[in-house]
Symmetry: C2
Subunit: 658 residues, 2 copies
């Protein structure tokens, strides 16, 4: 009897190993019938103290087992340095994608040579940077609409940009701007993802060289960098990228023009005061010093014309980057400024590309600029130069309308129904307001909805594309305070899902306790086509081809050349081959593991006691790491993904002889 049962189990294990155990999506058997909700629903609602609004919200956000969300949200993790994927409307965290910071579960940057090389692309001087402050994700676009292929994100702390592949949701590249040390107004893509736009935040001398702070105006500068993206290669090409030098204002957020404004880009700024701090030298605090002027500057730049100027060779190469200097940019009509009130935060282009909305931060208005007015003012030369010789367009000539919304307006999104939504940080509210087209009098505040608390960015469904979906908007609130069970002095943020089909309503509070999101983008789920398994056994997920170290079953081996040891191994449910490794103290070991499975979800992990290595070896992938066997001893290595009933048996001994 026992033998029979064992035989059955082994058979089942085999079937599972060969086929995975996908059961397909189930169809609900009985949708609620006309005329009534289930009888016990009311009892449940009463017992749990749910209000009618709660019940509606519950039903709007519940995604049953096996059913899929309608949207993906990609949100930055802030100083966690990652990118977080959330389903909407369920607000479930589907995946944490490691970008600038190593992460052990997905085997990113903890030994794995592929991701270590990606991270090394973002090193600063001789420092291997292994953290970051991810801010603004940008999905790749085709004709101004998300195409679901790539997502980009910046690291504000060290001025870097990452490329994430939406086939496998992995970071494939990090590039470092060679001239600045912090960015913020990034990433934003041009309408066909020709370029990824990056603005500076805190100005430094080019290449963050040393220069006394007293020389701020003369030596400190900012750049707007246009990172060239090659869709076929799936990489930013630094040699085909360029920067436009701009004054040492602190550029904040940016956006790309679209449709009628395609070819243009916009970055706002603050600290046009050129204040440099010194609070221990008797100067005002930074927050006062950079907030003295009533007007700062919106940067208006023409990236298409800039690309032509670059092609014509009118640039300087600075630290390996082609830079259009300020005088050239002015002379070639690439760069203009427009006054904007006061230390603004977000700049957002309307879906039709006609209007540019700037949120005031220290001014209660949003200010709407019209692209046709900007072009007319340029044609009419209605400008006066700033102190760096950049033309400042006449405010009244380019400004179309101002709408008073409330305190601390930060960011604006759109619903495709002619409405705009702006977050109000100090009011802790979402303002809904009407876009008035070319008629200034038609712009009007419609209503304000409280959020909890201190809302920063907001993201609406496809809300910054040429065709917003409306329906959902997420308020990325910075403070949670009393919203969730207490978890000590460091609280989660509160991401509130809002239904914006009618009057905006909060329908779900999501605790964000794995990072501090800044911006997010929300894309219709059917635009993405991620793979389940890598295309061929032995796949290198970074190089996107079969690895030269791919190992087939039966070809596992250990090669030794002096003290250089190379291990070619495989993993399959439920063993690693080889399962015995004999080394000598002082060996340098390079270890390649190929997951020879092709079943969906048949991931194997790998850790090795006493060494910093954590791998995720996904179906058909080949992953490599290396280490020095400096200490003699007996070590265990094993699969860290609970892959099968015999997962704990999936181990090996590594012996290092003295």
């Amino acid at each position: 009897m026992k033998r029979l049962i064992l035989l059955t189990m082994i058979l089942l294990l085999l079937v599972s190993a060969l086929a995975g155990c996908s059961k397909g999506k189930e169809t609900p058997t009985a949708v609620v019938a006309e005329g009534g909700l289930p009888a016990d629903a009311m009892a449940i609602a009463q017992e749990r103290g749910l209000t009618p609004a709660d019940i509606n919200a519950a039903l709007k956000t519940f995604v049953p087992s096996g059913k899929w969300d309608d949207y993906y949200m990609f949100t930055s993790g802030g100083h966690s340095g990652n990118l977080i994927v959330i389903g909407i409307p369920s607000m479930r965290i589907l995946k944490n994608i490691a970008v600038f910071t190593p992460e052990a579960w997905q085997g990113y940057g903890i030994g794995d040579l592929g991701s270590e090389a990606v991270l090394d692309g973002g090193n600063v001087d001789d420092v291997k940077i292994r953290m970051g402050d991810s801010h603004h994700p940008a999905l790749s676009e085709t004709a101004g609409d998300y195409d679901g292929q790539w997502v980009f994100i910046n690291d504000k702390a060290s001025a870097r940009v990452a490329v994430i592949d939406l086939r496998d949701f992995r970071t494939k590249q990090i590039v470092k701007d060679p001239n600045i040390i912090s960015n913020h107004g990034s990433t934003f893509v041009t309408p066909n993802t020709e370029y990824v736009i990056q603005g500076t935040q805190y100005a430094v001398p080019m290449g963050w060289e040393y220069a006394p702070i007293e020389n701020y105006k003369e030596e400190y500068r900012a750049v707007i960098t246009l990172w060239k993206f090659d869709r076929d290669k799936g990489r930013i090409i630094p040699e085909e990228s360029f920067s436009i030098e701009v004054p040492p204002y602190w550029q904040d957020l940016c956006d790309a023009g679209k449709l009628v404004s395609e070819g243009w880009g916009f970055c706002n700024s603050f600290n046009t005061e050129l204040f440099t701090g010194g609070n221990m030298q008797g100067n005002p605090q930074f927050e006062s010093g950079v907030s003295q002027r009533d007007m700062d500057y919106l940067h208006i730049f023409n990236w298409k014309k800039a690309a032509e100027v670059i092609a014509a060779g009118k640039y300087e190469e600075i630290n390996g980057m082609r830079v259009i200097r300020i005088p050239t940019a002015v002379e070639e009509g690439i760069l203009y400024l427009a006054p904007e009130p006061k230390s603004p935060h977000g700049v957002d282009v309307t879906p039709d590309g006609k209007y540019i909305v700037v949120a005031g931060k220290l001014d209660p208005h949003v200010t709407v600029y019209a692209m046709n007015k900007i072009e007319q003012a340029i044609a009419d030369k209605k400008w006066a130069p700033d102190e760096f010789g950049v033309p400042v367009l006449d405010f009244d000539s380019v400004m179309l309308a101002q709408v008073e919304l409330g305190l601390g307006p930060l960011h604006t999104q759109f619903d495709g129904q002619g409405n705009a939504y702006t977050s109000l940080f100090l009011d802790s509210a979402l303002a809904k307001w009407k876009l008035g087209g070319d008629d200034p009098a038609a712009y009007a505040l419609l209503e304000k909805t409280p959020v909890q608390y201190n809302v920063g960015h907001i993201a609406a469904a496809e809300g910054d594309t040429v065709s917003p979906d409306g329906k959902y908007l997420v308020a990325l609130n910075k403070w949670a305070l009393d919203r969730f069970l207490p978890v000590g002095p460091l609280l989660p943020q509160n991401l509130q899902l809002m239904d914006i089909t009618g009057s905006p309503q909060v329908i779900y509070d999501m605790a964000m306790g794995v990072g501090e999101p800044h911006y997010a983008q929300i894309v219709k789920a059917d635009k993405l086509s991620p793979i389940n398994v890598y295309p061929e056994i032995g796949w290198d997920p970074i190089e996107w081809k079969v690895s030269e170290f791919a190992t087939k079953a039966g070809e596992e081996r250990i090669e030794r050349d002096g003290n250089q040891v190379t291990i070619f191994s495989t993993s399959i449910r439920s063993h690693l081959t080889p399962d015995r490794i004999e080394l000598k103290q002082g060996d340098h070991v390079t270890w390649h593991i190929t997951n020879i499975e092709t079943a969906h979800d048949a991931v194997h992990g790998f850790q090795l006691g006493g060494q910093n290595v954590s791998l995720s070896i996904e179906p058909s992938a080949t992953v490599s790491f290396e280490f020095d066997a400096n200490n003699s001893g007996t070590y265990a290595y094993y699969c860290t993904e609970f892959c099968s009933a015999l997962h704990l048996e999936m181990m090996g001994y590594m012996l290092v002889a003295p």
Copy 2:
């Protein structure tokens, strides 16, 4: 007008800075009335295709904005090396607690000297281990019930145990077992948290010294370690801890006795075959080699008696740990074995402490042992020695009942109503079965509920204490397959919340995309009393007292002694003091930052371009880091937590002169 608005805003900022902006919890204004759900609820349900069961599930799991979950779940993150806090029934991730792996958002192990020191406690030889494979969390207990004060968790990869403080949800200590390299059967606490139990997984020579694999039986060993926990100090005290040497079987899971079995502990095992692999030497695969015998061994040990034996000096000190060797353990009646079928996985003591349930893994039964039968068999000396001289109790004398549940039984939990629940990995199901007390015939399978897919551990509300709550059970499923939107080859796990008040029903699918949970524990929320703000300004969160480097407002300073520079700085909305740092290339810098805020949620973060430092400076905390200013240049540092409307202004320049 503009001046007035600005004045108002500055006033608001000040008020916010002084008081935070807590608005208190809101009371719902209208609970759903007798007689009817809201009229639009049915329309929503129909539009979204919800079944009656979906509607009930939605209402059971929805936690409205500002209302709190009823339970905390603490779940391991597996090879992410962290501990994840989830609210039940909402299944929201409230917080990721970094334990074995650095994490940038919470400023853990990325420069912060306090957490770096915690991590260094777990170094292996000269390797600074910065990853881990966290498996089994154990909440501290008083009289066998969770007391909400501490939580412990192990790292299987390098045999370490961590202590997490539930006042501030931070890791305070990591200890490394000096004799073994992998643990699995940990952590489990004794009923008053006198000790944290840790079992070995893969046997190695003591101290993981080198010994040929051929000497496995002679030289390889396992230990069961009893880590002494000092509640006042909040620390494990290695000098007061001890180990019991056991044979080189692969110990799997453990549990502590309670009530009538208090003083005893239980660890099951597999690989009693002493198989050592060699799949490239023509030997069978590990999963076959370690699964040959029909019976393996349950380890039964008396930790109270062991503590007396230690006190009597009957131990050997091995690598600094006091170890009771096998012959002493046998002679003193500390260690027994009992046969258990076949490569079992979980061992779980019933709430009354009378019965020990072992799940078969490769046997379709759970096997129930009775403590009184074990004690009787010991008294009657009904045993024969194993090949290491350890008494193996007669199976029929100690076994009370076996219940056939299905394929791949792994883990068992209890509901306090006389029922047990066991996960069936191969069946992808939860088995509910009846505990029969002392009557073997009364034990019976009640029903099986499908889960999606490959369930590993399960956790019921307080389900492993002396007083389980019933109501909720979470199935920690290893494979998600088709359950969620696709996210590439690495999928989330699927944590399914089940309502077990009646026939078990899945009521929520939670994607777990930030780690791979093994075990979890679920504790009633009101048992925890986390703090919101550290007790005094300048608090050291690790040492739990005012830091010697605490800095008050007005006492900020930069001290230089040769090339040793020490910075004493403060943070408050919205500036860092000092905001200018002047260094010379080659300086070694130690930098202390005190968050002088006392408002709830007024956290400041800190990153510095070009250096690996990411800090979370929580209200009233002092945090320190150090670095070498090897490169000259101009760098920006800034607050990474969006703390106020003037957060972007909260920065400083660090100049390193060549």
